[in-house]
Amino acid sequence: MEKKLLLVDDSSTTLLMEEMLFRTHTKFQLVLARNGEEAVRKALAELPSLILMDIVMPKMNGFAACREIRKHPALKRVPIIMVTSRGESWNVEEGFESGCNDYVTKPFNVAELIEIVNGYLMGQKVE
């Protein structure tokens, strides 16, 4: 079965880049969300294999969305990677406390991002 990625960002620019990367260089199915609320809803409906999550978003931020997602048994172990411009240490700490597995700062390098994602999905990296 094809792996499914949930890409969450309120920036069209970032979504365009992520979508292009995974559509051209992987066979993953993609699901997109533009805020934390939509991310939680789609995570529950789609049960993705991995989530790339922005932090600063309208309606519900990435930390809150991450905490919400972790409450659901079916999503407790899905890898969540924060993708954000906020690279300060307190932000990183809050990200891990909210339940994320990894952290990538923008602007990200597409080759590095796909390597991290593959690391989680191909079993090279474990929770």
Binding site: M20, S85, G87, A111
Partner: protein, 222 residues
């Protein structure tokens, strides 16, 4: 390998707008194809990814009539700059309007109020300025803390541009992929912005464009 086209004459006619939209659509399709054909260890892969996202986002923004916001978003997400301004000279000779901005501090704001016209004139009809990546720093722009300036050539004159201040802490400086993206913005952002005419261009920070000039130094931050 030439990735970004040179700016074309822009007079704002309906034909020019149609050509602009077609150019952006063609460019994003071209970058997408090149990206798809490149391996992930190709030296151009990062540049191609930025050019695709930049061209595609500008194309979307023209259709939505929200070009200034898109430029600010491109700066934040593809370059790693959250302290920037988009300025455009309008009407009366000395009037320069902020039409988009993000994260400027008081010092940068004051600097823009006092020097917007001079920044545009310093650029002249020149190419993109970057304070890193092997380029000799411009003493005037560097003294204002500007790390890059992208001039907008419109109607055969520089009518504004994108001013980039401090980069996010995770960026050591601008690189060749940023230069290509800034060149793309230099070629297309100005014409894209001019298609927003009549849509009451808005700033990201305050919701309204605001005129500035050397004689107006006491405006509230936007």
């Amino acid at each position: 390998m030439t990735l970004t086209p040179e700016p074309q004459a822009w007079m704002g006619s309906e034909t020019d707008v149609a050509r602009l939209e077609q150019d952006l659509e063609d460019l994003s399709a071209q970058y997408l194809q090149q990206f798809g054909e490149a391996s992930l260890d190709d030296g151009n892969i990062v540049t191609l990814s930025k050019l695709y996202a930049g061209a595609k986002r500008l194309h979307e923004a023209v259709k939505e009539g929200a070009v200034a916001d898109a430029i600010v978003e491109i700066g934040a997400n593809l370059i790693g700059c959250e302290q920037m301004a988009v300025i455009l000279a309008r009407g009366e000779r000395d009037k320069v309007a902020f039409i988009g901005s993000a994260g400027l501090n008081r010092r940068q704001l004051d600097s823009m109020h006092m020097n917007a016209r001079a920044i545009i004139e310093e650029a002249g009809m020149g190419a993109v300025y970057m304070a890193s990546g092997g380029e000799e720093p411009d003493p005037f722009l560097s003294s204002l803390g500007i790390v890059a300036f992208v001039p907008f050539p419109l109607d055969y004159a520089t009518k504004g541009g994108i001013v980039l201040f401090d980069l996010l802490p995770q960026r050591d400086g601008l690189d060749s992929s940023d230069r290509e993206l800034l060149k793309l913005l230099g070629a297309y952002a100005g014409p894209c912005l001019s298609t927003d005419k009549g849509k009451d261009q808005e700033t990201s920070d305050k919701g309204k464009s605001q005129e500035i000039s050397d004689n107006e130094k006491d405006l509230e931050p936007w």
